[in-house]
Amino acid sequence: MSVEKASPYNVDEVRDDFPVLNRTVDGEKLVYLDNAATSQKPQSVIDAVSEFYEEYNANVHRGLHTLSQEASEAYENAHDRVAEFIGADGRENVVFTSNTTEGVNAVAFGWGMHHVDEGDNIVLTQMEHHSSLVPWQQVAQANDAELRFLKVDEGVVEEGEVEEKIDEDTAAVSVVHMSNVFGTVTPVKDIIDRAHEHGARVLVDGAQSVPHMPVDVGEMNADFFVTSGHKMCGPTGSGVLYGKTEAFHETQPYQYGGEMIKLVEYEEATWTDLPWRFEAGTPNIAQGIGLAAAVDYLEDLGMEKIHEHEREVTRHALEMMEDDDEVTVYGPSSDHENRGGVISFNVSDAHAHDTSELLSDEGVATRSGHHCAQPLMREMGVPATTRASFYLYNTYEEAEALVEGIETVKEVFA
């Protein structure tokens, strides 16, 4: 067993970096397994934010005074840091947002509304998060376009769907990179190649991938890519919208105002350079700087190692859960190679909310509901699932605590 429970880094030391992990909940040690919703933050990120406020808080871009110059440099360099981390060419391809949702809206409204025409189709998967589904519904409705969905089975895009659904009328493709319901990874490379053959642009929703595995948007050849900083050890209010230069040049701003303009007259205005054109108003400055600190933290540990660690801890939990007849696990089985650190399940005839509530009693934090994927849940024929999602600091013991917690649920609903 001890060999099995190995980790590529010292998890106990890592846990010491995250102050909240010392918390108790109703007398029980906190077991935080709600990482797909938002991750915890290491002290270095918390400190980067506080230091900004305590030492050089100022507005950016325009200031000639010292604080503003320091703040601008830190904020602009944070774009370089993120660009490097995700494999973007440079800062002009990296826009800071509040979250993934804002990035998808910026693409749907800034690009989609102007490039998806009547009779075109937009291809998504059946397991999109509401954030990458609902904005495209708006585009389809406004421009009389068709929405098409790649069928998924247990979180895996079905054979032949890509070839069948993406065709010469496809204008846009928007696909989740790693499912927040199943932890499965979409074959984005194949999808992008196919879409590009037909002249379509592709947005990849990397909310769950970037925090958990090495990602290179350049190699993937995505046109647009979005992710959430707050799910990858960064502050709330941090997120990223990546765009290829040529894709960004096709994109209208989604927000208008200060900082994104070049020349303004009373009747009209022109826009400044990339990426600032897409960041209107005072940006989330401390959050962008905090995100860069999060990237430093992740790179220090190493994304490959993080991925490996999570996969092993998840597999440990999955194997135990698969052995239990009263537990239904959704998604591919524990030996599937493409399985990230997310487990969606239900326990006997307990409703998912009751399961989460009872698990919380044991200190185990999970999430229950439709996971912002209502149509998928209907497709799966369940009203809700409980989701345990792991991160770099979760341990084998915590996986076991989850399984023990499930025993309590079974007892109550026996």
Partner: protein, 127 residues
Amino acid sequence: MSRDMYRQRILDHYRDPQNYGTIDDPDVTYEDVNPSCGDEIQMYAVVDENDEIQDVKFDGQGCAISQASASLLTEEVKGMTLDEVRQLETDDIKEMLGIELSPVRVKCAVLGLKVLEGGIVEYEKEN
């Protein structure tokens, strides 16, 4: 401890809800979901000439708390007038359940009542 919430009585109503089902041609009918969790409830009621509830049923899906509350509520409101139902408040539901609830779960508990009252508002508008 939320475990205390799951008393036998609650679990019984969850597993075997009272007045579960539909009514053909009801006087009052309405449905709603709790957007924060997706629980869905539909209520049906038959009302007599004195605005008294003769029969009431519900269906839908959701957690033990929302289902048990709806079940208990249907037992409670049979024979009440519409006005009396509209007087019911969150505290009355808590009393029916007889358990402590966190703010999130209060929303589950009152869903049935919210739906029934929504139906009554519609009914009174039309009559």
